[in-house]
Symmetry: C2
Subunit: 384 residues, 2 copies
């Protein structure tokens, strides 16, 4: 059910002329009871897209009525006309929903540079007419770009629900590059708490995903709370449930990463603090050489070791231990005896888990990444 | 002539049992007149290799007699035994040259993790016996790893010379990842000036090279001055000549980068200062998505624009202009009209020059990188 699993929400996904053929390219998630509490986390890019700039303003009051999202065009690098196009979309959806345009959050994803079709706002009427609780998967489909499957998740707790949908594929890194996600809940939560909870959940989930080291102009995660369940949950329980939904969506993005053949989890521990552990894990995930070795199923701990050394974090090289799928291949900063043939067989296919211990500190982090494949390069090398 | 072009130097390259077969794997560059003025720049990695740690100490007095370099094994991630192996190499070469071991600089390059053969120091006698002014190319060959050709350069000025050799291939990024270079001159220059001049030249050349965003455990650039010409050059002229040699070697590394099919120069201008321009250019060169587009000959300025936005440098998005091979494709933060067919034909093969103007400031930088290719991934994906 994803974004319509919680009471008080409807969704729609239609073709509105951005993508070729009749592919779905315009999605809407709307509150059934007018503007409600809402929160958002956006990209930190200084070349952020026009809809990001607009949506920051529209959600600044902690309330939203609906989120409209198009795929097939990022409306980024589009200057003044891009800003006008994003605004026109909010106006059209606001009119169709009989709500102020400032209650509409606008998201776009796709290629950077091209402009949105000027006729896109004309689709708002049909989009609003299509709103229904059963159309969540159409909405999830309408936000896809190079993704190969829709990404939805739901967590149910006593009397309340959190659901969500997301898209992502390449260009995914901390601060949520080229990913969009809309999350909804019927729990009773104030917008201030929504915002702080969302930031914490994003930090623990989406920001621990590093597909190709690239960040985007358009990232956005939007969370709306209808309060329709009438239940105000314990905030720790709420935050844990939200993180569960976000983690599921992040995980689905890794599985669907452009051209990737395997998901890799990097568990860093023993760092001075969680921030250092995160930075070390990200440095390993940023290394093209390391990610090539994942592709080949090569337990090339030397490349991991090399990446740790330049992560910008204080490190005692002789305390580093590295294990692949539970088999220790390096400790004390040097190679450990291990059964290479057995490990190569184990790494020949499927997921890889790399445990990296860097010392005796309390800091730990888990980073999800993928291998770097020839297919990724071919896919991203062709002129569009 | 490279490292023996300047008076007062001999060189040798032999097979000493690190690589398989009879491939050259041990090189020596030696002063003919005992310890002389010397300077070095090493990797900033916190997991630096044993020979780097040793060589920092040996060159701390600003003097060196010889540089011994092996390929085929980085002697990194080798703990206490690695330190002993590097020391043993210095002792053996020192004995063969009748000089104190602390006058010997030791460099290694190759895979991280494996240990050097314990018999390697036995090769020192044959290595010293092979020293000659004509053997510079054998020395340049003996330091290669995945390189496909030797890299040598010479600049002659009035009465004095600077020459050098280098190796590099993948894993090349600021701070000179996996590159080794030995430079020699017969100019009369003090070790203090050598050091400051070398730092400036490395910053302008090797550190502007970004092949795959990876830094190494073993990078080292060593510069020795024999003074045998008897001429103390103007320091600006000396620094310019040194930068010319370094730039030639850096350029050769880019041309020989693992799996790369084309060299790309990123000229960033209009930044607040040179440091910002360098950081912006490096962020573009670090982007896997951008480097895939170079592979495909795709003038995908949107990816460049996206990379600029997350470079960590203050930026006015609406002042960004981007040109490929002289043809402007974006200005004012948005797409510019351009002849796409003509540009695609121009970018179909060969070098690419991308001019990126980010504002009206005085800061500029040129970064040399390459495309990211399926061959790079395949090459680096296989278990060794």
């Amino acid at each position: 059910m994803s974004v319509t699993a919680a009471q008080g929400f409807t969704a729609a996904g239609i073709h509105a002329g951005v993508k070729e053929g009749d592919a779905l390219d315009l999605a809407l998630v709307a509150s059934s009871s007018g503007p409600i509490a809402a929160a958002a986390v956006f990209t930190q890019s200084l070349t952020e897209a026009a809809p990001v700039t607009l949506s920051r303003e529209h959600i600044a009051d902690g309330r939203a009525h609906a989120v409209v999202l198009n795929s097939g065009c990022a409306n980024a690098g589009t200057g003044v006309r891009g800003a006008a196009a994003a605004h026109a979309m909010a106006v059209a959806v606001g009119k169709a929903l009989s709500t102020d345009p400032t209650n509409v959050v606008v998201c776009s994803t796709g290629a950077i540079g091209p402009e949105l079709p000027v006729s896109l706002p004309d689709g708002a009427t049909a989009l609003v007419a299509a709103l229904d609780t059963v159309n969540h998967t159409l909405a999830a489909e309408a936000i896809l770009t190079t993704d190969t499957f829709t990404k939805e998740a739901v967590v149910k707790r006593e009397g309340w629900v959190i659901g969500g949908m997301a898209k992502g594929a390449g260009m995914i890194r901390p601060n949520m590059a080229t990913m969009l996600s809309v999350l909804t809940t019927d729990a009773v939560v104030s917008s201030d708490v929504l915002q702080s909870t969302l930031i914490a959940s994003v930090r623990r989930t989406f920001n621990c995903l590093n597909i190709d080291g690239c960040q985007s102009t358009n990232d956005a995660v939007i969370l709306m709370a209808s309060g329709a369940s009438g239940i105000a949950p314990d905030l720790d329980v709420f935050e844990a449930a939200l993180a569960t939904v976000c983690f599921s969506l992040a995980r689905q993005m890794a599985e669907d990463a452009e051209g990737a053949s395997r998901v890799v989890t990097l568990n860093v521990s023993g760092a001075a603090n969680a921030r250092d552990a995160h930075q070390l894990g990200m440095a390993v995930a940023n290394s093209a050489l390391v990610r090539c070795s994942f592709y080949g199923g090569d337990p090339n701990w030397g490349r991991v070791y090399g990446a740790l050394g330049v992560a910008g974090v204080s490190l005692a090289a002789n305390e580093v231990s590295i294990a692949y799928n539970g088999m220790t291949v390096a400790h004390g900063g040097g190679e450990a005896p291990f059964d290479r043939d057995s490990l190569l067989a184990d790494l020949a296919e499927g997921e890889i888990i790399v445990d990296i211990v860097v010392g005796h500190g309390p800091g730990s982090a888990s980073i999800v990444t993928t291998d770097l494949t020839p297919e990724y390069v071919t896919f991203n090398g062709e002129p569009s």
